[in-house]
Structures are given as C-alpha cells and as structure tokens.
C-alpha cells in the first residue's frame, strides 16, 4: 500500500468560467430587464394618453349635449356606449399596469404618478357615470370601493365585487379608490370627506354607504334594488331574499348611511 497522499485536483478554471457565465446570464437578465422597463413605460404612456383622449371625448359629449339642452333618447345610447367602453378600458388595461406597479418594491416618482392618475380617473368617471345615469336614465349601478392595503379583509370585498362585475357585466360599474395614496392626491381626501369614510372596506352603491365586508347575498340584493331589469336578478333574488330581511340587508358592522 502506497502512503503517498492523493494529489487532489482543483478545477480552478472551471470555477472561474462558471462564475463568469453566471455573471453574464445575470447581467444579461438585468440588461433585458432595463430594456423592457423602457418599453413598458412607453406602453403605459400610450395607455394613459389613449385613456385621456377617451375621457376628453366623453366629457365633450356631455358638455355639448348639455349646452344645447338636447339630452334625448337619440344621443343617450352613444353616450352610454362610450361610457361603458371607457370604464371597461380603465379596469382592463390600466388596472393591469397598476397591479404591476403595486407589486414593485421600489418606490419611484413615475409609479406615484401612475397611481394618482388611476385614482383621479376612477373618480372622474364616477362623476360622469352618475351624470349619465341622471340625464339619460341609464340602467346601471355605480359602486365606489374604498379600500386600503393595510386592511386584511379588503381583498375579500374585492373578490365579491369582481364576482358581481362578472355576473352583471356592463350594468355594474366599479370604481376602486385606494386610500394609500390620499396623502398624494387631495381628490381622494375630498371623496373620503364627502362620504365620511372612517373604516375600510367601504362601498358606496348609488350614494348609499355600506361599511365592512358586504357578503355576496347582501350585495346582490343591494345591486338588484338599483337595477331596473336584469335577468340575473330575476333568477337569483327569490333564493336569496328568502333568508334575508329586506329592511336590514347588512351584517352588524355595516350600517346603511344614505348620503
């Protein structure tokens, strides 16, 4: 038996090569990330501009019709269609961007601006929608949803709202308002003061305030009371209203507060 110890090899070159390749992949990923960031900003910019134009168009339609006192059944369908499609856009493309921005851990100015824009957009569409409802007698419900990221039960309300958006489609317009940005955007503060928002989540359905998480069945009753005719309501109300007392369609921590 030989006693000479094994001469161990140490693949120094491979460790270095592996290190370099790892670094290159890492660097390539970062670079591509930055390039894509740029593209993303451009696309977000486009979405914002498009949204802006749509809003202007809608606003002008209102102003125009208002100034000629010609709100009638002929012009209302156009207005209604524009309103619904722009709100749809707002919830589709922009909310996707917004949820992405919210996931990013870094805070930058661009993100703050996007979030402010989104908050304002939601509130001004709410105003237009309410106006349209009054003037054109549109058969739709507006729901303003006040929530905050530090509220654990808020996602539950979000799920229920999404569910009804899926059921009622264009008849239910939901305007989320995230209170995290109220220090940056005074408009959120104004809306909060107007509805006297003290806890989250709070939803405003056609100017009626409901605090706390409103359960599926209750919200269905509330929505159906506001919509004149919807096949979903006719199908489901008999089931749900049986176990509901129509006078108090809320749980303990939610009190109706007509505004």
């Amino acid at each position: 038996m030989t006693t000479t110890p094994l001469t161990r090899t140490f693949s120094k070159d491979k460790y270095i090569t592996a290190g370099i390749i790892t670094f290159l992949i890492f660097a390539l990923g970062l670079t591509l990330g930055f390039i894509i960031d740029q593209h993303r900003y451009n696309i977000v910019e486009e979405i914002n501009m498009e949204q802006e134009v749509k809003y202007l168009s809608l606003q002008t339609q209102y102003l125009y019709l208002n100034s000629y006192h010609s709100f009638n059944n002929n012009s209302c369908p156009i207005l209604s269609a524009t309103l619904k499609s722009t709100v749809q856009d707002l919830s589709d493309s922009l909310s996707e961007v917004v949820s992405y921005e919210e996931e990013q851990k870094t805070t930058d100015k661009r993100r703050d601006i996007i979030m402010r824009r989104y908050a304002i957009d939601n509130l001004r569409y709410l105003l237009l929608a309410q106006e349209g409802k009054q003037k054109c007698n549109l058969d739709l419900v507006t729901i303003t949803y006040f929530y905050s990221s530090d509220c654990p039960s808020c996602p539950n309300q979000g799920v229920i709202l999404t569910y009804f958006k899926k059921i009622f489609g264009e008849k239910v317009l939901i305007f989320p308002s995230k209170l995290d940005y109220r220090s940056q955007e005074p408009m959120i503060e104004i809306a909060m003061a107007q509805f006297n928002i003290t806890k989250y989540p709070t939803i405003i359905v056609d100017n009626n305030k409901y605090e706390g998480v409103i359960k599926k069945e209750e919200l269905q009753t509330i929505i159906c009371n506001s919509i004149k005719d919807s096949p979903q309501c006719q199908l489901n109300i008999p089931n749900t209203s049986l176990n509901q007392t129509p006078t108090s369609p809320h749980d303990q921590n939610s009190t109706p507060a007509p505004n």
């Binding site: 090569t17 592996a18 990923g29 569910y163 599926k216």
Partner: protein, 437 residues
Amino acid sequence: MNIIIDILLWITYIISLYFSIFLFLVYVEQNPKVDPRANSQRNTSLKNTLNNTFNISHHPFISILVPAYNEQSTIVKTLESIYNINYPKDKIEVLVINDGSTDQTKEKITQYIQDKPYFHLISHSNRGKAASLNIALTHATGEFFACLDADSFVEPLTLKKMLTIYEQENDPQLAIITPAMKVHEPKNILQKVQWLEYLVIILIGRITSQLDSLYVAPGPFSLYNTKIIKQLGGFDEKNITEDQEIAYRIQSHQYRIKQCPNGYVYTTAPSKLKQFYRQRRRWYLGSILCVHQYRNLIANRKYGDFGMMQMVKNAAGYLLAITGIAIAITFIIQPWVENIKELFLINFNIAPYLATFKIKITFLTFLLTDFRKGFIILSLTILGIYFFYVAHKNANEKINKFGWVPLIPYFAFYYTLKATILILTLFQFTQRKKFKW
C-alpha cells in the same frame, strides 16, 4: 418577510445557476463524444467501459456480502442475480448474513445455497446492517468486496465493468467503485418518479466522479478495496447511513471513489409515501450527520474539488431546501389557500368566471413579467431540462419509457416534497442536537 424571501430567492437562483453551469462545464469536458481530443488515461478507461470493452487481464478474488433482515420475499431473487454474475465461479465467494431475521429468510437462504459451495451463510442475532457487514468482512478473503442489499439485483456484467475501471485506473488509492442505480420494475407513480430521479442521480454521479467528489457509496453493489476498508476500520456501526459515512471517510483519508457509469444495479424503491418519507429522512439525517462530522473538509483546499465544491454544495443544500419551501409557499401554497378562501366568499359559484373567461396574452402581459428573475429561472430551466435529457441518454433509456405522466409530478412537486422532508429532518436534527451536543 417578503424582502427576506426575495433576497433568499436571488441568492438561491444564483447559487443554483452557478453550480449547474459548473456541472455543465465538467460534463461537456468529460463527455468523450463532445471532446474527441480528451485522451487522458481516465477518459480512455471511461470510453472503454462505455464501449463494453472490459477485457480484464486477471480475475481477482471477489467477496460479495449480502446482509438480510426479514427479506424472505426478495432474498432468493437477489441471490439468483449474484449467481448469474458473469465471472469465474472459483473467483467468487458469497457471504449471506442473516441478521436475526424473524421470518423465513434463513430457511430460504439455506435452501437456495445448499448446492452452491461458494455461497456461505453467517447467522447471528439482530445487530444492524453495518455490524453484519463488519462481521462478514472478517471472513471475507477477496481482494475486492461488494455489498448487495437483499432488495437489490445486480446485472451479470456489472462486476466485470467495475473491475475494468480498477484495472485501467491502476491506482492503489482507488478505494470504491460505485454502481449506476436504477429503480427495479417501477409500478406505481411514486416509483416511476423515483425512476426518473435515479437516472438523473446516475448522471450527476458520473460528473461528480470526474471531479473525484463522490460522497456516497450506495448500499447496492459498491465494489470496495478490501485492504483499504479494513485498514480504515470497516463500517461505522453507529451511523444510520453507513454507506455515506464510509464515502466521506474515504474522501477524508485522501482515497478515491469512482463511478462505473454503466454498471447497473436495480433496487426496489419505496412504493408508499410513508416508506418513502422514512427512507429519505434516514438519508438526509445521515447526510446532515456526515457533513457535520466531516465539517473540517468544507472549503478545505487540501481536499481539492471535493472540499471546495462538493462539501460546500452539500452544506449549501440546506439553504436551497429552505428556499425551495419558501418558493413553494409563496408561489404555490399561498395562492391556493387564497383561491380556496375566495371560493368560499362566492359560495363556489364559478359559473360567471367560466362564462367570461378569456386567455388574454398581449404584449403588455409579456412586458409585465418580472424579467430580471425570469431570465435566471429560464436559464436554470433550460439547464435542468438539458440534464434531464442527457441523464436519459447517459443511461440508455427513453424519457417516456413509463409514459409522460410521471414527468408531471417529477417536475411539478417532487423536489418540493424532497425539500419538505429535508426541512423536517433538519428540524428534528436541531431538536436532537439540544440533547446530544
């Protein structure tokens, strides 16, 4: 908490990527087909073994040790596989150790070996596998010896293939030749998933062997140099995984371990989750104890690639496992819990979702993915799939030998399951540590 998980994820991705690339580089260099100029002695012997040119000049005497404890159902098949080994019968002795079996094992052995004079039975009360092997080792006269668990079966040519490596390496420091283990007749999905895993282990073993960094000498049919093992004091009877401990001890004494990449041995894989959990828990606990026992080898330059790479990797494996769980919780379990909670909120009425369901993949969706991490994950996935493919080629098996179905659990959650068991074992280890150390 999210930030910790995020940092942990980044570290894990980069470490995993680094080791994968390192293994890839080693594989590309040692693969004879890729690099025809590779003409070193080691590569030649490997090539010869792979080409089935195992003409050994002399036939050394071989002892085969078969420890058996309550193995009445498989013992005869195991002995038969030894009987069928392609090797001169006068150059083999088989020592079957009945480790105090309480079933029909002893009777089955006695009946099988009665007309085979080179088979011997050693019987004693139950002492454990390592002790049984040590007792048999005192009787063993072979220049080399192999152990074969009673749930494993050896291919007839494996012994000759292994001896070819001993002969061609011609290195007195070479202490163990390890086999290439495959799962014996996988029947259920758990066994089929392990079949896939074992093939990848063979490939990793082949690459690790090239780096002289093997850290386990599998129980089924590792071929040991009797003199070296006796000199080092045989198997550690206190260790729960004596096959890992012996490999670490060999490495720490600067001896060598080589893998015989096509020396196939078939072993029975656990078919039930509970058995699987127990087996892995034993392996991982053994591994933790070994890394702990031989911790002075970690990042020790005296031990070359074994100290600098393998030991570091074995120790870092715990970080990888912890992160694996963190990934599983954040990306798989948590979203599912959320989904189920959400389903309760809408009374499981998913019809409206299905009615309005649209797969919408736009350029924006693509832009909104986290590209920085995504790129590293993509690279890792490509390397992983490449290794998976090469592992099958290396072992001469088709990827869909048992259909495509086993690939789904293998890629989807098999590694998470293994990581969970490792974490549980680590936890138990730290609990024990309080009392023991």
